[in-house]
């Protein structure tokens, strides 16, 4: 079991430029079922992917692959033709929010937006548009979602993951890799790793991810990685206290970040004394979460939480 994505997930790509093509190829090498792409001016064409299989991914495949991905004019047409139930967005920032809304309109139940640098006002609109639709957005500005050995959607390196018991949810890309790597080395492994992204306005938040992991029978514990800015971690702490039945460990980045400066991520900013690492750590500790004092200790903190 896993959450959000699994071996049967059929994935569309929105934005088949250089980045989209590169990561689609990596996903196919991993064994993800990439069923179609959307590109208004290249509809009717077929994008061909060939290469050596990434055996860290889905088991039981030949050593090489050749996959033809058909390109459609609209998401609606792509869904009708392929039955896709997930879409990954690599569309450039000025047009990415529109791509998210198009996927939502077509009823794609899971939309994963990797694009970084989308104007905030566009995302405010997109979230409003998604409000009454039964779809889940992950991101933007995120590495994506992976269920090891089943399905990789996004830009994370597949080989550091291994199937296991821990659900991982994170606002940061490379810190997720760091966490996953440690969980692979200490044998806990992952059910699914979800990158929720570093933007101030995003789709899936910590509470959504925790809810999904809490309901997933295969997930035995959750590792969450937060950072300064906003109050999503405090909200998660309150939810954990009230609802969580599984052990949780966490790391919060940005203890040393100065106030008023955006630390790389658009959402990583302490403003008006709100959003400090100290406040988040305090809230999570009060909720019984085992805190990793440094990112090197994330795997150990998870072990400790599982042993409690």
């Amino acid at each position: 079991m896993s959450v959000l994505v699994g071996k049967d997930t059929k994935v569309l790509v929105q934005g088949m430029g250089k980045t989209g093509r590169f990561h689609t190829d990596k996903a196919i090498a991993y064994g993800t079922n990439m069923v179609g792409a959307v590109h208004p001016s290249r509809a009717g064409q077929v994008e061909v992917f060939e290469g050596e299989t990434d055996h860290s991914g889905v088991d039981g495949r030949e050593d090489t692959y050749r996959v033809e991905v058909p390109i459609f004019r609209t998401v609606e047409e792509a869904v009708a033709a392929t039955g896709a139930d997930a879409s990954v967005v690599y569309v450039p920032p000025p047009f990415a929010a529109d791509a998210i809304m198009e996927a939502a309109d077509a009823g794609v139940p899971l939309i994963i937006c990797v694009t970084e640098g989308i104007p905030i006002a566009d995302m405010v609109k997109a979230k409003r548009y998604l409000e009454d639709k039964n779809v889940r957005l992950v991101g933007p500005n995120c590495p994506g979602v992976i269920t090891p050995k089943q399905c990789k959607i996004g830009i994370m390196p597949g080989y550091i993951h291994t199937p296991g018991k821990i659900g991982v949810v994170s606002r940061s890309g490379t810190l997720t890799y760091e966490a996953v790597h440690q969980l692979t080395l200490n044998g806990l492994g992952q059910t699914t790793a979800i990158g929720i992204g570093g933007d101030p306005v995003n789709g899936t938040n910590f509470v959504d991810a925790l809810t999904a992991f809490n309901d997933d029978p295969a997930t035995e514990g959750v590792l969450m990685i937060g950072e300064i800015g906003g109050t999503a971690e405090e909200d998660a702490a309150a939810w954990i206290t009230a609802n969580m039945t599984k052990p949780v460990a966490a790391f919060i980045a940005g203890t040393t970040a100065p106030a008023g400066k955006r630390m790389g991520h658009a959402g990583a900013i302490i403003s008006g004394g709100k959003g400090t690492a100290a406040a988040k750590i305090e809230a999570l500790e009060a909720a019984g979460v085992v805190m990793a004092p440094t990112p090197t200790d994330m795997g150990t903190a998870m072990m400790e939480a599982m042993a409690k």
Binding site: R171, S172, G173, T174, G254, G264
Partner: protein, 407 residues
């Protein structure tokens, strides 16, 4: 992106938001020349001389070179002495202010050099209020935040008298609705002509915030004049950098002299860099990992000299540029390179580090921690390069090693 008060007020005036009349001055003569037209036009013999820097707290700020002069000065000499007296006083003030260093609670001790003044007409104030439009991250919507406590920092009001802050959510599909604007105006105590003007002000301000893609518009104080006019006495605007591509006119208002030179240089190479006060330079891929690297340096007892995220897809040239920017800082006594290669391959990082060291030399200790894609090849390249560097097994090990080497 931040802009100056006078620029924000010009953008507001263009969108029907009432602001006092004023003129910007880069020289003493320009400051003096602004006085007569302002007084003749407004009929008010009072003018205000305001320092233009990208930091708040100007009113209570003081100049290093002239501790008797504040950042904002109300010139009343015109009341009894006429326009000439006002001009004389403005000349005296502008001479002291221009080119001098203003220290406010937001600039830090080093202060900021004042190169622009804004000369504004005097306003007869009846009431001071607070108004802003900003993103509420909890609801993913913009809100109007208002308070009767004008002139005070909103953070102080929030801490001491939170019940005096009014928040109204703006639905992005509709904008601020007229009844919402009326409700805010009632709650702020607007009456008569001021009520009508206040509703109009709110409508124009919230529309401007959306139209211009602002991160923040803050009017503090918003004033009601003795004539019932509603005006932005001060005005602060910050813009979403990701939306500047559709606002070239706003992008053109950038004042690079207000920004850190190293941070600007980093931007040219698509690097995310923030200068800090410590001694250990950091080069990391990914914003979260970069923050965590600073944290771990602090945990083991060191102080980070910077935040530097080279991004997910950096090329060799960017790595070299990042290295040069770090080594330019004279405080840096050692460098910690911490990479978890995902998309970014460790061999590319290694090549970039080697190229940079060959070009700029290396006078401080270097610790490199590589993990992830092509890590073996990356380590091999570094080993074979003959560079004087220390390898680390993980982040904590790296942080400890660079600390030992700089002590």
């Amino acid at each position: 992106m931040k802009i100056h008060e006078y620029q924000a007020k010009a953008l507001m005036a263009d969108r029907g938001i009432a602001v006092p009349k004023g003129r910007v001055a880069m020289t003493v003569d320009e400051a003096v020349a602004a006085v007569r037209p302002l007084i003749e036009d407004s009929g008010n013999p009072v003018v205000v001389v305001k320092s233009q820097i990208h930091a708040g707290g100007r009113g209570k700020g003081r100049f290093k070179e002239h501790p008797d002069v504040g950042g904002v000065n109300v010139v009343t000499d015109g009341i009894s002495g006429g326009i000439e007296a006002a001009e004389e006083r403005v000349r005296e003030l502008a001479t002291k202010m221009l080119g001098s260093t203003l220290v406010t609670i937001q600039t830090g001790e080093e202060g900021k050099e004042v190169n622009r003044l804004y000369i504004e007409q005097g306003i007869d104030i009846a009431t001071e209020l607070y108004l802003s439009v900003l993103l509420d991250r909890a609801t993913s919507r913009n809100i109007v935040m208002a308070s009767t406590e004008g002139g005070t920092e909103i953070e102080v009001v929030a801490a001491e008298t939170p019940e005096k802050i009014l928040k109204v959510e703006i639905d992005p599909a509709f904008g601020l609705l007229p009844f919402q604007a009326r409700r805010i105006a009632y709650d702020l105590g607007f009456e008569g002509a001021a009520f009508k003007n206040g509703v109009k002000f709110l409508d124009a301000l919230t529309k401007a915030a959306v139209e211009l893609d602002t991160d923040l518009v803050e009017i503090n104080p918003l004033v009601i004049t003795t004539d019932g006019d509603v005006m932005a006495l001060d005005g602060k605007m910050a813009f979403d950098a990701n939306a500047l591509f559709r606002h070239p006119d706003v992008a053109a208002l950038r004042d690079v002299t207000e920004e850190d030179a190293a941070e600007l240089e980093a931007k040219e190479f698509d690097l995310s860099f923030i200068k800090l006060d410590g001694e250990i330079g950091c080069m990391v891929n990914g914003a979260g990992l970069a923050m965590a690297t600073m944290d771990i340096i602090k945990t083991v007892g060191g102080e980070p000299a910077n935040f530097l995220d080279v991004g997910g897809g950096a090329e060799k040239e960017q790595i070299a540029a990042a290295f040069k920017i770090i080594t330019k800082d004279p405080n840096v006594k050692g460098i910690f390179v911490n990479i978890f290669g995902g998309i970014m391959r460790c061999d590319i990082i290694a090549e970039g580090v080697i190229a940079a060291v060959e070009e700029v030399g290396l006078s401080v200790p270097l610790v490199v921690r590589l993990e992830g894609t092509n890590v073996e090849l990356g380590k091999q390249l570094l080993d074979e390069s003959g560079l004087d560097l220390v390898s680390a097994t993980d982040m904590k090990d790296g942080a400890q090693k660079i600390l030992e080497l700089t002590r």
